[in-house]
Symmetry: D2
Subunit: 476 residues, 4 copies
């Protein structure tokens, strides 16, 4: 397993083509915003090295038998699913989003589909995949998941928009050449690998768009046009969290990128595209049942601390609202636990979380987060959005005023109270807040997508039969 | 283990003192409304005898090692908690409420508290309890849980209202004499035993009110003043479900009832009253995580069937609302699973569900049920509350009109459509609906009680510490 | 204007053909359940005769210039709309639903459409209508609104289900003959007149179904198959409200009913059917902005009284929930006020409430009522659904127990507390509760219908233009 | 009346002491962020000069009889209240928040309280106030409302925290000297006048804190420590709205500021402090019933435009969500209309909006805004938070990629689609979004404050009496 330092050094040896703010970053790993993103990934290496975290953060490879970082592991049991859930929650208590789940969620999905397609089509994707995986585990790599295509006109299918969705433009003896762009792509500039999946089900006419593969993130032809919600000039006083940990999103362009066959895991088998997309979604929604509770916990801690500093923590309506935050956190996590416990083995041997519970958990979390923000804003008060900038707290003309007037109850220094509200501002009233809110709704799929999956996966017919029985109607 | 028939016969040998509608029922087990209640309990005996249900419905006694009905079992593992949860859901698919959970939830709570009080106070309650339990298991008895006292002025404590809450009025060598009344008491007239618990925490001045015991339900001095939401003259066509399965609620009056010491499990140890009440609440809220999902499933089945018969099952907004019902069902069950999986062993050896998850599950279910009814009403349409009475469907002048005009899509007979809506009426637009709704809110404790428990049990301090760490504030 | 007594006497002179419970009611006006329905209508006559109510309950006819009951008035100004709103709320404080609004809402809609069709088609419906109206006002009649057809398979249009929706089967010199059935039809057995409207927009093939007319409620061929949520043997102690005031719903069958031309207001002009249906809906949704707040007020009063009797009225969470009930009441009424104030004159001279506000008000009320019930159940507690039957409060063996144990705080008698809970049971946990809940959702149209109307009537394009302007995009 | 230019010139003649980001702004009106704030106020002058807006934007002074800007007017009728409501909505369609309402809301409150205190205490505040008002109207001044004190420990009263809340420290023949700080203070650096009010009810011991007055915003001793959510280097492409219109919030410190008696409107009459605070709140919550609907309209326009550009505007779930935004907008505005129409004249002659409706409207808006954001995020999709920075759309390496890949349906240019999403980002996923969300909850008072006001103002006793009557209980 790599250390955090080794991970950061490995990035410096790569040649990601990264643009941000209209210019190319020659050495992206030195850019402040890229670094706050890479710091999140680095944490997953660091924690895996802590003995007390080993149970959660590491696993035994089913291929090599070696101890590996769990973020490179293919789940072999319900217990693996449960540990991954708890690992995700634990990590996100530090960073809100741990990012590295995406790559491994994508690989778990591929482990199932490559096996399935081989059974049906006589291909050898699964062997290729396992060889790739063994390398991935051995090198302790970080993958992103390049999934969501730019969709153009959503009422048109991929092949009706020719050159928009990512697709195969050439097949050779050595491999394939692909073109297209993936949007909303997280952590590409500091991932080793891009794991590329189709974004939806496909028809036969879309066969060239039914393509999955892995590629080094710095392969020729790949361009990342990035943005970050982190501050460009990080001052911890001003942005206590996002100046240390943040994410980078990109439009990741594949402009005739070559991928050798041994890294191609789906190519033209359009019937499997939808299942692959759904599998990734299930794994990733299961991940959300770990990360979202951590976000809610942080929101709860912030709100409780602000209420404490304001001298109102015991007020009845405050306690009621704090409880709502607990409920929000634990409802989602309960779904994650249920999805783990009721997970099922697939023919590939990989364990899959229960689809209904994983979707219900993500759906609920995605339709509750804004309300949680409302609760925090309500509890903490207006200062969240009206506190003067950091520099006024040190300037000689203004510092004494602010020190005097912005304190809360006597036992708490104005400085600590300001730190508390600065954190709440960072998380709930900033550009990063915008990202968190939007990602909460759309990350891992939109609420609408989740509702469709839930109803499709649920045995409604059995419930209608139940109603028939109770009503005294003959079975259908 | 008893059969259903043996259970019903055993009732006929008892002398419950039951009043309903202003008169005493001389042979209560022959009364229609009592019988629809007893039919629910009988089902728990019947299902336990079905081989395919044995895994869920039976368990091995930790006292005798014999196979027993799980409704008499003290949980020995997380798996026991999980099976009890699934058993409850399975049973409630037939009856919506299975009732027998109450007695066993009370006994599980007593198994813990008797042990704990013995450790602290040197009493021998736990031995007595186990002797009683062995008898209870051997005879396969049904207990009710007589817990909620009539509370009079809720701003006053028990001892400030002297003769209202149930309490000890005399102690003798043989036992104690108790007086008071328990309200909202379910299934007393067809239970073998009443398991009596204090309803809340007590102060020293309330010591006489800190009393727990078991008594035969027909002991002298016990009067049950009952009501039932079931129809008095049951016609299945009119009330397809409640004419077969229903509940009886009573004000159960204890007018100087004698209880021998070997059935007394708490008597004056006021410090333990609150913990006992909370333990029962935790077990019972865990039970709700099994029964409420079954109710939601039935509601879902009804709504889907009505939509199908109306020819609108594929409409986008119908599908969206059906999905909301799925979410409502499975969120609650997920909490039940989480509460089981994260249950903990107590010093008595009894396993306790995780308190936070059990409370979150019940809280959510209690604050969602009315919305589920809204969804069903919305989906099914006005016929739920405007369908002519059953007899008009057979009277010669009206039957042809109704047959002609009340059909839905061509493939469905008007009769089946009417049966479907009659079921929905029975469950959602009748006196029984009122009971279900109110019980959904208050059964096992009110949402407010659950919120208080949740916040008290949750480690808010740890979350504040988390916020401090992220904000850069020194630890408190 | 008629008195209440004259209204009731006029019913006795009619020959409604009414079935209920499988038998024909020979003298329907003497049937208990019919009488509790007629009592509601009678109240509208009684209140109109009270001087202090005259301002609200009466108006000056624009045809005759005479003082008339406002329930027979065609709105001539925003102030008329506002007074009708307040009249409705005032009446419903006594009865929850005042029923007579339906007929006059239907007539207002007809006053507009008859005028419009005449303009387009050269017909003379409007003159006929005014002649009929003058008679209606002079005789101070009560009309019902027979609108919702039995819809069979909702995916099929009227003409695709031949003989289901009400339609013209014959045209003669004297008039038309109609056949079909109207469902969910309120107050038919004690209305003088049935005002019949099409239920939806029609296509040319549906022209025979585009028919509107007025007919005496006891015209040959009309059969009402009824149900009532009121108790059959009314004891006020048991059902304090529904034993006095209730509604009767019917499937109203038109089996070759003859209607003379002077009472036909639409016949074949299929293009106007949808507009007529929408106009009625708008008037009726405006009415809901008057009645629903009254229901919420009664719920608020009940909940506050129960909390008072329980000694918890000042508890923080109780106050918070009571406030939610206030908000629910007044949000809806505010929409009614806005719909009145922003009403518009139509070419016929009739004033129409603002469609968006009327729909928003009804939509909100229809999606909030179940939650209001939840609040009342939550505040009042379990006794709402577990209180023993009335007779046990007088039987000698049980009365003393109940008197002793069911009291609340000292200043309140158990009898008054029981009366309070009996009212709450009557309104929220009975068959009548089921009717109220379902009617709250579907009365005046379903939430889905209202959403569609809102978006169709709202100028979304103007808001998109606003967004374009703010975004710096050239106008579309 | 002043023109926009005259307003801006008048600012340049003043000497506001403004700090932002640790340094004093020597010429605040030239600072970019201050200018985007002042641009909002300037718009109120500009619109008042447009003939087609005159009806809404101007009024006739009841003092001078001259035509004045309505933002300096004391309401003389329900129609005045209604026009102010519509004016506010109209203005906010340009700017989301119009800011100038605060000063005039404060003056309306003072017009009532000065009159009332004079009646009770024989003071002459009202005459002074009218003299000041005439000057204010004549000069067409802009006032801010300096109301919310820094509250320190909220469990302590003002006098228990000595030097924190603003208070009188000296009284002389000429006037008073005040000290303290007001927080969350909007538009101070570009207002002519600060209108200072007490923030809450006071006890006798707090008498020195019961003080209200007007002061030039640049009076000696006043320091404004400011922040703005607007971009520091405004590029319209990047922040289409907030680069043109924004707000400035300040901690406004009064360090021994002298106020001459003729500008003092309350000084020691502690009994009136709470009423004054409540009056201001009522006026300001009424204002919210104008501004919040405009925000919702803009959100609706944004969401509909994004859906249109994505090719999904007709999807059923999109239409449903757009309708929810309409409902959110118009429910609040309906409350504003109701509050206007049911406003009441006070003894001072000033009209006051109905308190319940004003509070219900603001309460609803404050507890719905986050959900509206959720709807917009849901409808628009992830691009709201992941779109690359503006410069990448012009850089030669990246622009072609983005132009190709970020387009939506064929008829729409990528540039317009990007503009649309940039606006949504500006409003919903930026620091300004944070301000809007927090202000939506807390502006004009928190939801909790509004709930308390609603219940206090509502005649709950009358509703309990109604319940008693229906239940058959003797009147209390």
């Amino acid at each position: 397993m790599k250390t955090a330092t080794e991970y950061l050094e490995s990035l410096a040896r790569m040649k990601h083509r990264v643009f941000m703010g209209g210019r190319q970053l020659e050495r992206p790993w030195e850019d402040t915003q890229i670094r706050t993103g890479a710091a999140v990934i680095a944490l997953t290496y660091e924690l895996a090295g802590q003995p007390e975290m080993a149970e959660l953060m590491t696993a035994k490879s089913h291929l090599s038998g070696k101890q590996i970082n769990r973020f490179t592991h293919i789940h072999q049991s319900p217990d693996d699913l449960y540990r991954k859930l708890r690992m995700t929650r634990e990590c996100c208590r530090h960073t809100l989003c741990i990012q590295r789940c995406m790559g491994i969620d994508a690989l778990n999905a591929l482990s199932i589909v490559t096996h399935q397609v081989d059974q049906v089509a006589g291909t050898s994707y699964h062997r290729r995949f396992n060889e790739y995986l063994e390398h991935f585990q051995e090198e302790d790599l970080t993958g992103n998941a390049a999934m969501t295509d730019v969709k153009g006109d959503r009422s048109l299918r991929p092949h009706q928009q020719a050159d928009l969705y990512l697709h195969v433009v050439e097949r050779t003896d050595q491999g394939i050449v692909v073109r297209g762009a993936k949007a909303h792509n997280t952590n590409a500039p500091y991932a080793h690998e891009l794991i590329v999946l189709p974004t939806r089900e496909m028809t036969e006419a879309d066969a060239d768009y039914a393509v999955a593969f892995a590629t080094p993130a710095d392969a020729p032809g790949i361009t990342m046009i990035c943005r970050s919600a982190a501050p460009r000039e990080p001052r911890q006083g001003s942005r206590p969290l996002s100046s240390r940990y943040s994410t980078v999103e990109s439009v990741t362009v594949f402009d005739n990128v070559f991928v050798p066959w041994e890294r191609v895991f789906l190519c033209g088998e359009w019937q499997a595209a939808g299942y692959l997309a759904e599998l990734f979604a299930t794994y990733h929604r299961h991940s959300y049942c770990g990360c979202k509770p951590a976000i809610s916990e942080v929101l709860l801690g912030c709100a409780a601390l602000a209420a404490d500093y304001n001298g109102v923590e015991k007020a009845s309506h405050i306690r009621s609202k704090l409880t709502e935050l607990v409920v929000a956190a634990e409802m989602v996590h309960a779904c994650g636990i249920a999805a783990s416990v009721q997970g099922k083995a697939t023919p590939a041997g990989t364990w899959l979380p229960d689809t209904v519970y994983a979707n219900v958990g993500k759906y609920y979390s995605g339709t509750t987060l804004h309300h949680e923000y409302e609760l925090v804003h309500d509890i903490a008060g207006g200062l969240v959005a009206t506190m003067p900038p950091e520099q006024d707290f040190t300037a000689p003309e203004t510092a004494p005023y602010l020190e005097k007037y912005l304190r809360g109850r006597a036992e708490v220094s104005a400085a600590d109270r300001v730190r508390c509200f600065r954190l709440i501002e960072d998380i709930t009233a900033s550009a990063m807040a915008g990202l968190l809110l939007v990602a909460g709704v759309h990350g891992g799929g939109s609420p609408e997508a989740e509702k469709i999956t839930i109803l499709r996966q649920y045995d409604v017919a059995a419930r209608k039969e139940l109603a028939r029985r109770l009503a005294g109607i003959k079975p259908a």
